[in-house]
């Protein structure tokens, strides 16, 4: 029972951290990574709910299937978001990989 509690707690904290980074930072790469962290948090909670010590301790497979689907979906969306970020950067003549682009006014940063 403790392990479920522990995993769900870490999952929720991951979700919170991802959400915070997503809202605060405006660099496109950080945002996409933050979304991944949030997704991992949710999947961790899902996995935690799967572990149900029912007598012989076998695992409830439905959350596992949901996690699998979730992971595939988040992979495809992340790929699309990265390509989007590249195209947006390409047009707003700003270097995606340069770590600090905060000196430019908000408008020019592309978001």
């Amino acid at each position: 029972m403790i392990t479920t509690m522990l995993y769900s707690l870490t999952g929720l904290i991951l979700f919170g951290m991802g959400f915070y980074t997503l809202i605060i930072h405006s660099h496109p790469l950080r945002k996409i990574l933050a979304v991944n962290v949030m997704a991992t948090g949710v999947f961790l909670i899902l996995v935690a709910t799967a572990y149900i010590p029912v007598g012989q301790g076998d695992i409830d497979p439905v959350p596992h299937a949901m996690v699998l689907t979730g992971i595939v979906v988040s992979v495809s969306v992340t790929a699309l978001a990265l390509i989007f970020a590249c195209k947006v950067q390409e047009n707003s003549n700003l270097d995606l990989l340069r770590k600090r682009n905060h000196r430019k006014p908000m408008k020019e940063r592309g978001l």
């Binding site: 997503l22 709910t49 979906v73 969306v77 978001a81 989007f84 047009n91």
Partner: protein, 505 residues
């Protein structure tokens, strides 16, 4: 239960566009033919389903033969079928319009290659978006709804970015991020729900939805996620740039259909699954957000200089009406909660798609859509301006449009429940709508003094007739309202009726 052979048709609205999408991506030629066949097939299947539902009543189809706690079930009842009909009708019109739009675009040799590429990638994305929409309206499993929402989001973002302009790329990137956050919040809500109920099927959830803390937080998370996707006012900032900068057929799809899908879910959760634990104060909160949306969207729409942005902001405003229906739905005479929402959604879908098609035609003809310099469009494109007029009128809720019937129900509900402020909101909203609709109309009617009014520009019938037909449908929806109401009444009586008798305190 139900003769299993009749339930086999429920699956086709999903499978048809799915196969069409795959084939459109595979072949380079004949993609329009496949898409048109799928759209027409989808329309006829939905009509057949409506006929079947009227005969057999609401029906369920268990995919893979596994019954709910284990497998996924698709369900058709009154509101779901009307939403499917809306998607099918608007989808067919959009398919035809897009064909005309791309033919016109490809005809000028300057950027023919780019437009050919846009056309090639439009069809598969549009068909798979249609699959997601039909899947969402049919599905009765909460995780499957997450997958369909994701299907819609992933196919809508590249569609919005198809025009390739920097503005539309940035807008659709932000749209993708926002809908991603919405989906994750929705998924978290699903996790909470699964943890507390252990079941994923909507009907079973309906049974188990006690008033535990876990379930109400699940509802809050689901609502926040879906509100993000429906662009309710505080979270609406991504909608206008995304819808305005997209290609004309794409902005039609986004504004008329995609936004409604997440609203449909929200309404179904609030008024069917979690009905027992909904408190009047939360309903009034949603109503005030709706009122805020009506006024904020209308004021912004009046200030826009570009036609497509104006129409996009009017979407934000019209969505407000859908949310004002939350507190009033309980007091509708005849007791059907869904009737107001269905009427507003159907009228808005037809009228808004007609408006965006008109904006597209104007853009194709004039090369820009600045409202100030829309002179002489009436003489050069009479049918388009006529369609805009009718769409504007039915959007405002003048009789005999469907929105008039919805406004009538809203007003009588607000008077029956002695909540007069809703009446003021609704009347004020339709007045504001009049202002921003007729502001553009008057610019259309200005006859340019300089050159004589240009001869009719020969736009292809594919560009001119779909908006007119959609506008006429939205205008005369009021006259066929008895049949629409008859269909809406067919709710999935099954488990829902008994629980729902109590309704709200």
């Amino acid at each position: 239960m139900f003769p299993s052979d009749t339930a086999v048709w429920i699956v086709f609205p999903v499978i048809l566009p799915l196969v069409a999408g795959l084939l459109c991506f595979l072949f380079k030629r004949g993609t329009f033919g496949i898409a048109l066949a799928a759209a027409i097939g989808n329309f006829f299947v939905v009509c057949f389903l409506i006929y079947q539902m009227l005969v057999y009543g609401p029906m369920r189809c268990y995919i893979g033969g596994w019954h709910p706690p284990l497998g996924i079930s698709l369900r058709i009842d009154g509101p779901a079928l009307l939403m499917l009909l809306m998607t099918a009708a608007t989808g067919l019109a959009v398919t035809l319009y897009a064909r005309g739009y791309f033919l016109f675009r490809i005809s000028d040799p300057l950027r023919a290659r780019r437009h050919k590429r846009q056309q090639y990638y439009f069809w598969p994305l549009w068909m798979l978006l249609l699959t997601g929409l039909n899947g969402l309206f049919l599905s009765a499993d909460i995780f499957n709804l997450y997958v369909t929402l994701e299907l819609i989001a992933v196919s809508a973002a590249p569609l919005a970015a198809l025009s390739g302009k920097p503005a539309s790329l940035r807008a659709s990137y932000r749209y993708l991020l926002i809908s991603l956050i919405g989906s994750l919040t929705y998924l978290l809500g699903v996790v909470f729900l699964y943890r507390s109920c252990g079941v994923l099927d909507l009907a079973l959830l309906q049974n188990l939805a006690g008033d535990g803390l876990g379930i109400s937080t699940a509802l809050v998370l689901l609502t926040v996620g879906l509100m993000l996707k429906t662009a309710l006012v505080p979270l609406h900032f991504w909608l206008p740039p995304a819808h305005a900068n997209a290609l004309a057929p794409v902005s039609v799809i986004l504004s008329a259909l995609v936004v409604k899908a997440s609203f449909y879910l929200l309404f179904r959760f609030w008024f069917e699954i979690f009905a027992p634990i909904i408190s009047p104060s939360s309903l009034n909160f949603m109503g005030t957000l709706g009122a805020l949306a009506i006024f904020w969207g209308a004021i912004q729409a009046m200030r826009q200089q570009r036609l497509k942005l104006m129409v996009a902001y009017s979407t934000v405003s019209q969505l407000g009406y859908l949310f004002v229906a939350f507190p009033l739905s309980m007091f509708v005479d005849g007791g059907q909660v869904w009737s107001i929402v269905v009427f507003i959604a159907l009228t808005h879908a037809c009228a808004k798609s007609a408006m965006f098609m008109v904006a597209g035609n104007v853009y194709l003809h004039l090369g820009h859509d600045r409202i100030k310099s829309l002179k002489g469009v009436r003489s050069s494109q009479p049918i388009t301006v006529f369609a805009y007029g009718i769409a504007g009128v039915s959007l405002m809720g003048l009789p005999p449009s469907g929105a008039f019937i919805a406004k009538w129900m809203l007003l009588s509900a607000s008077f029956a429940s002695l909540q007069y402020w809703w009446a003021v909101v609704i009347a004020g909203g339709s007045l504001l709508a009049m202002i921003y609709v007729f502001r553009v109309m008057s610019h259309f009617f200005v006859i340019p003094e300089g050159e004589s009014s240009k001869k009719n520009v020969s736009l292809s019938p594919l560009l001119e007739w779909p908006p007119l037909i959609l506008a006429l449908i939205s205008l005369f929806l009021g006259l066929i309202s008895p049949w629409v109401l008859k269909i809406v009444l067919y709710k999935d009586s099954g488990l829902l009726a008994q629980i729902f008798q109590g309704g709200l305190p």
